[in-house]
């Protein structure tokens, strides 16, 4: 024990040395200031594994805030819970000359619940310190430590959390006994750490970055972890809530999760088992049987998040869900598995990183507990693996949507973990097809009907309208279709919940003053239904690749019946662009008094080189121009 105390003394010494550093803002290298609101002058983060249930994290960092936009970064938020105990917080504030103007400690911090809004219960709290400095720039120094009682997951080192933050110097050291094996993965920072053995025989792994300029926001960027520096650490042996374990692979980690967190949670009462058998007894096809079970679960339960028990990683008992009719993603998947088991259908409990904007998969080469934030269900039929999210009361069986599509997930099974990949939706799947027939009256009013079919990811696009009151539906439709004075005469939404689901929207509408009349001419916008009005912003010296999460195809065909006896004043619209990431075509044609407008936009998902970005801006510029086409009709 003496050994460790000595280490703490050494740490404190180094902190004291730190505090004496000169924080005069004039010492900040000039090349670091462009696009920065915050400069990390020096950040030292250490993690020391003292025992399998005793890890000490220690952070000292000095940050200079250049302007108001950096104030958020100056706020200290230290989270804690039952497994993570805050030891101390100290801090100092310096003016632009580097003179200390105030200091603070843990007792100056406010204490709040850190639970998510959507959670009924979560044992997460935080201490928050918000400095009140009105003179910029200023420098704030934090020094705090906490003790974690588990070694299953280590927090990632992510020295650049945000755009606008430049780094003068930042380091990360992982300290452990020589026999504590770790795996590590470093991104955008030297792949191999500096490995040393300190005076106490402990192994030190150190990564460091310095003089890193602030990143600027760039639209269509990949997920931040692809281009910002980070280090991930995973243990081999660990202790979690008193349970020992070890893993070297996803197979072993998945096995541990199954055995310790899931296996004992799936018992159901005989009555429930009997009931589920009863309602599925006439179905022979296993996939249809599973669909019936899933729909039964959907109709019976709803999503409520309650994070109790083993680190919020263990599902409620299936029998509890059966009685309460609610649960979080873990509980609902676990419950559905139990129901499926009752009718002899095998299924997997799968860990996934859910995100609508990016498809982030579990890393094939780096198993770790810190990846994944959601649980989904996988039902492996012969030659037909089916997926389901159990937290929605309405989505069809087999439909995943943008939240969890196209990514690696970990199936936790009694035989061990398996890395599987969820289905990818391409531009051939995500389809929006629209046909409309409108009449423009002599007084400029428009009326007509419009049918739109949504498939693939787009299936969900009208979910929020279903079951809303007419008043709310009208308000939403007026936002979706920006026709001034739009009034909805009739709305009908039908959903096909088969294995290739689709949503069909039928609208009857009218609006006055759609076309304006002046000097004997009619003017109206050709495309008010599905228009793009802004291009992505220009980015000089782009750094990041261009990322388009998934492909899509949209096709519109609108037929306008115009007042008789008019012809076009300008050339008809005829625009067409083709790029590696997509294509666009818009045309119009006047036949008698029928004006037919066709528009097709297709995007191909993927990551493209940064040079493609200008093409993307030009592509959208062409679309914006086409969508802005004004029809001018002149009397014959």
């Amino acid at each position: 024990m003496r050994l460790f105390n000595l280490t703490i003394c050494l740490l404190l010494l180094s902190v004291a040395a730190n505090a004496q550093q000169n924080y005069d803002v004039n010492l900040i290298p000039k090349e670091l200031t462009p696009y920065a609101n915050t400069i990390v002058r020096n950040s030292v983060e250490t993690v020391e594994v003292k025992d399998l249930n005793d890890v000490e994290y220690h952070v000292t960092e000095a940050i200079t805030i250049l302007n108001k936009n950096g104030d958020d970064r100056a706020r200290l938020i230290a989270e804690y819970d039952k497994m993570k105990e805050l030891k101390y917080i100290k801090g100092y504030i310096y003016n632009s000359f580097g003179q200390q103007i105030s200091k603070f400690s843990k007792s100056d911090c406010e204490d709040y619940s850190a639970a998510h809004d959507f959670s009924l219960f979560e044992d997460a709290r935080m201490k928050v310190y918000t400095p009140s400095i009105t003179q910029y720039p200023y420098t704030i120094v934090y020094d705090y430590a906490y003790r974690s009682k588990q070694t299953l997951g280590f927090e990632n080192w992510e020295p650049v959390e945000h755009h606008g933050v430049a780094i003068e110097k930042s380091s990360f050291t992982f300290i452990c006994k020589p026999d504590f094996s770790i795996k590590y993965k470093a991104t955008k920072v030297s792949a191999e750490p500096l490995i040393t053995t300190d005076a106490h025989g402990l192994k030190n792994y150190t990564w460091q970055i310095s003089n890193q300029k602030a990143a600027k926001y760039e639209p269509y960027s990949p997920y931040y972890s692809d281009y910002l520096p980070s280090v991930e650490i995973a243990p081999q042996k660990f202790n979690y809530y008193g349970i020992d374990g070890s893993y070297n692979s996803w197979a072993e980690l998945g096995k541990w999760e199954y055995d310790n967190l899931i296996a004992s949670r799936q018992a159901l009462t005989p009555e429930t088992m009997q009931h589920i058998k009863e309602i599925t007894k006439d179905i022979t096809d296993p996939k249809l049987k599973a669909k019936k079970v899933y729909e039964y679960m959907q109709s019976k339960t709803h999503y409520i998040s309650v994070q109790v028990g083993i680190g919020g990683n263990q599902p409620f008992l299936a029998a509890d869900v059966d009685k309460q009719n609610y649960g979080d993603c873990k509980a609902l998947v676990n419950y559905t598995q139990a129901l499926l088991k009752a009718v002899d259908i095998n299924s997997y409990y799968c860990v996934v990183q859910a995100d609508d904007d990016y498809t982030i998969g579990l890393q094939k080469d780096f198993p770790g507990m810190e990846q994944g934030n959601h649980i989904i269900l996988c039902v492996p039929f012969k030659n037909d693996t089916t997926w389901a999210d159990c937290t929605s009361q309405t989505i069809p069986f087999g439909y995943l949507g943008a939240f969890t599509d196209d990514r690696n997930v970990l199936a936790c099974t009694p035989e061990g973990g398996k890395l599987l990949h969820t289905p990818k939706y391409t531009f051939n799947d995500n389809i929006k097809t629209r046909k409309a027939s409108f009449v423009i009256e002599n007084n400029g009013a428009i009326s007509g009907t419009m049918t739109t079919v949504f498939k693939g990811i787009d299936y969900e696009y009208r979910d929020e309208l279903i079951n809303e009151s007419k008043v709310e539906q009208d308000k939403m439709l007026q936002k979706i279709y920006p026709i001034n004075n739009l009034l909805i005469d009739k709305l009908d939404i039908a959903q096909d919940k088969s294995f290739t689901p689709s949503t069909t929207e039928n609208i009857k509408l009218h609006a006055r003053d759609y076309a304006s009349f002046a000097d004997g001419k009619y003017y109206f916008l050709l495309n008010t239904i599905n228009r793009i009005t802004e291009t992505p912003k220009e980015v000089r010296n782009r750094v990041n690749d261009v990322y388009i999460a998934r492909g899509s195809t949209e096709e519109d065909e609108i037929t306008y019946t115009i007042p008789a006896g008019y012809h076009l004043q300008k050339e008809p619209l005829n625009a067409s662009v083709e790029k590696p990431f997509g294509n666009f075509k818009a045309t119009m044609e006047l036949k008698g008094n029928q004006l037919i407008f066709k528009r097709k936009l297709q995007l191909i998902g993927g990551t493209y080189s940064k040079d493609t970005y200008q093409d993307l801006v030009d592509f959208y510029q062409a679309i914006v121009d086409a969508d802005d086409y004004n029809v001018a009709l002149v009397k014959n």
Binding site: G164, L486, T533, K570
Partner: protein, 661 residues
């Protein structure tokens, strides 16, 4: 706003005695279980079948005076969209400074539903599944989810809160976002306490009964009778919020209680809480957290930089003080009229709530001899203040007011970017109460002497290559200058801001830019852009098309409703003008004129005016959109909507240039 004063609490003249009429717990009728939809609002996902509340001041087992509040509700849930009503949040006041807190008891809940075989089943709330979270120092929340929710189920729950904060007599919300069949509230108030009771919102009570219960309260040897009040409403529609309205609180039907006076049952000492403004004035004056702060003139004066003290002109001096206070403190996001930490502590930490900062401003101005009042107000989100009787409870914000050279100034020093004499939008909410240490308080109108004003001049010359080159000069004034500065400051550099402006310009390139006065708060922000406009784009090479509304064009009518129930409140008037000058070289002809527009709103409510001249290929086009009022009543809605409509159509206009071959 509509508020009705129901009852000025006077004991005489009441005779009838009533009994509490809570409905029976745990009994969902067959009809309620079978109900498929709510006929009075078929779009409702859930409906409150019955709701009962009661509140009474009594003496608890430990001989302390408490308010006992009981709540009981039964809700029909038609489909999963209504399941949210099955998750219950009970806010619990929890003062950790003095260890007083609400005590929530007897929570029970029951869900009645039809199982898959059509048989009626019940499931009780498991009290082990009730969770408590401490939100912050003064509040915790109890949360639970009702069990066994099914489409078509009936849920019912009840609880009792015993609170030491009995002066805050529990208000009652008749209206919510789902309809209610019946809602009833009983109040039992011992004669030691007197309250004003006000009904807010447009809906009428369907039940009002009053009576007395003799000897219902005794404490410390004194006894008193109680007034018993019963208020009920039937068939309450769901509340639907509309855009551009002030706080929904202003229109939601609710019952509010304000303490007028009380007699301490143990000592017999009578304390007037509220009766007349002079009582409120005196209370503020004597408050440690208000009046005492305003007395710290010497303390504040010692901190004022000497250079300010030497200024002789009153307004200039006030400006200097204002600027100093703005720069000295950082607002900690707390609102309220009373100081929490106090001025002295705020000086130490450079940090304070609305009251610390603005009372410092008031005190500082008074300290240098500028007679200044503190103006209490309620922010827009917080709702309107009652004018039915004097009440301090509605205020949540305080600003400063002084007059110099015949001009009256309202000041809020909590935002460092606010120009002198401009108030943030949140403060522009009807009237405030001006308070000073030695004169009676009075109402002061907060209606803004500020507006959102933009003036823009554009000068373009058409080039032989079909591009237009020239400059834009945009001046943002008054409140618009404040908003513009806020936007500029969101970016770390001016270049970033210009990129943001460029993003929203269609077919226009910014070649050079200059932003002046981004930091000089009291003058307009001036943006100058050298631009190049691409007027081609259509297929005919010799024809160029330009929409003269290059900046600040309105494309979408913000007013979409057929009918409007609540006023449109935009906070302040607005005025957007621009003039565009286009020099067209002789090789082009200008194909069309733009028709002059003159659209007026009734009673000088607003106007849209355009003029066009083409003098020998020298085009001058000007446009003005002005809304002179901040508030438009529901009956003015149709005209306002039409005004925007006609303006949008007119702004679609295009100038066509043709190149002679």
């Amino acid at each position: 706003m509509k508020k009705t004063l129901l009852f000025l609490f006077i004991l005489s003249g009441i005779s009838k005695i009533l009994l509490a009429q809570n409905f029976e717990y745990g009994k969902a009728s067959q009809q309620e279980i079978d109900m498929k939809q709510y006929d009075k609002d078929t779009s409702a996902n859930a409906v409150v079948l019955n709701e009962f509340g009661s509140a009474q001041i009594n003496v608890s087992y430990d001989n302390a005076i408490r308010l006992t509040y009981e709540y009981h509700v039964k809700i029909k849930i038609f489909n999963h969209r209504g399941f949210g009503h099955g998750t219950v949040y009970i806010p619990v006041r929890n003062n950790e400074d003095n260890n007083l807190s609400d005590d929530v008891n007897n929570i029970s809940g029951i869900t009645t539903y039809k199982d898959d075989n059509g048989a009626t089943q019940v499931e009780e709330l498991d009290t082990k599944k009730i969770y408590k979270t401490r939100d912050y120092k003064y509040q915790s929340t109890l949360k639970f989810a009702m069990p066994a929710l099914h489409d078509g189920c009936v849920i019912e729950y009840r609880y009792i809160i015993i609170t030491p904060f009995f002066e805050h007599f529990h208000s009652w919300q008749f209206q919510s976002n789902i309809p209610k069949v019946n809602s009833e509230y009983n109040a039992l108030i011992p004669g030691f306490w007197q309250f004003n009771i006000a009904l807010r919102g447009p809906l009428k009570l369907t039940k009002t009964e009053t009576g007395v219960e003799s000897n219902c309260f005794s404490a410390g040897g004194s006894k008193a009778g109680c007034v018993k009040l019963v208020y009920g409403m039937k068939d309450i529609p769901a509340f639907i919020a509309e855009e551009y309205m002030t706080s929904p609180k202003n229109y939601l039907s609710a019952l509010n209680f304000d303490l007028i006076e009380y007699t301490n049952p143990y000592t017999g000492v009578k304390t007037k809480v509220t009766e007349e403004w002079k009582d409120i004035d005196a209370g503020l004056k004597n408050s440690q957290r208000f009046g005492d702060q305003l007395r710290k003139k010497d303390f504040v004066k010692d901190h004022i930089p000497p250079s300010i003290l030497n200024i002789t002109d009153t307004t200039e001096k006030a400006k200097a003080i204002y600027k100093w206070v703005q720069g000295y403190f950082k607002w900690n996001n707390y609102e309220g009229i009373y100081c929490d930490a106090g001025i002295k502590k705020a000086f130490e930490t450079h940090n304070g709530g609305i009251s610390e900062i603005n009372l410092t401003l008031v005190t500082a101005l008074n300290a240098v001899g500028i007679k200044t009042e503190a103006v209490l107000l309620s922010t827009r989100e917080h709702g309107f203040i009652t004018k039915l009787f004097p009440s301090i409870g509605d205020f949540n914000y305080v600003i400063a007011h002084f007059t110099a050279g015949g001009k009256s100034y309202l000041l809020d020093a909590t935002d460092v970017e606010l120009p002198f004499g401009i108030l943030p939008l949140k403060c522009l909410n009807d009237q405030g109460r001006a308070f000073s240490m030695n004169e009676p308080s009075y109402w002061i109108t907060l209606e803004a002497k500020q507006s959102r004003t933009i003036t823009c001049s554009i000068d373009l010359t058409l080039q032989d290559d079909g591009k237009l080159k020239g400059t834009i000069n945009r001046f943002s004034m008054s409140y618009e200058a404040f908003l513009r500065r806020k936007t500029i400051k969101k970016y770390n550099t001016i270049d970033d801001y210009v990129d943001f402006v460029a993003e929203h310009l269609h077919k226009i390139k910014i070649i050079k830019s200059n932003i002046a006065n981004a930091d000089s708060l009291d003058v307009p922000v001036e943006e100058t852009y050298n631009i190049e406009v691409d007027a081609s784009g259509n297929l005919d090479k010799d024809k160029l098309v330009l929409n003269p509304y290059i900046l600040d064009k309105v494309n979408v009518n913000p007013f979409k409703l057929n009918e409007r129930n609540y006023p449109v409140d935009m906070g302040m008037p607005s005025d957007v003008r621009f003039i565009i000058n286009i020099h067209v070289p002789p090789q082009y002809t200008v194909e069309n004129n733009i028709h002059d527009q003159n659209i007026q709103l009734a009673n000088n409510g607003g106007r849209f005016l355009t003029t066009f001249t083409n003098d020998n290929n020298n085009i001058i086009f000007s446009s003005e959109v002005a809304l002179n009022k901040s508030i438009f009543k529901p009956e003015e809605y149709a005209a306002l909507k039409d005004f925007f409509n006609r303006m949008i159509i007119a702004e679609k206009t295009e100038l066509v240039f043709h190149k002679k071959s």
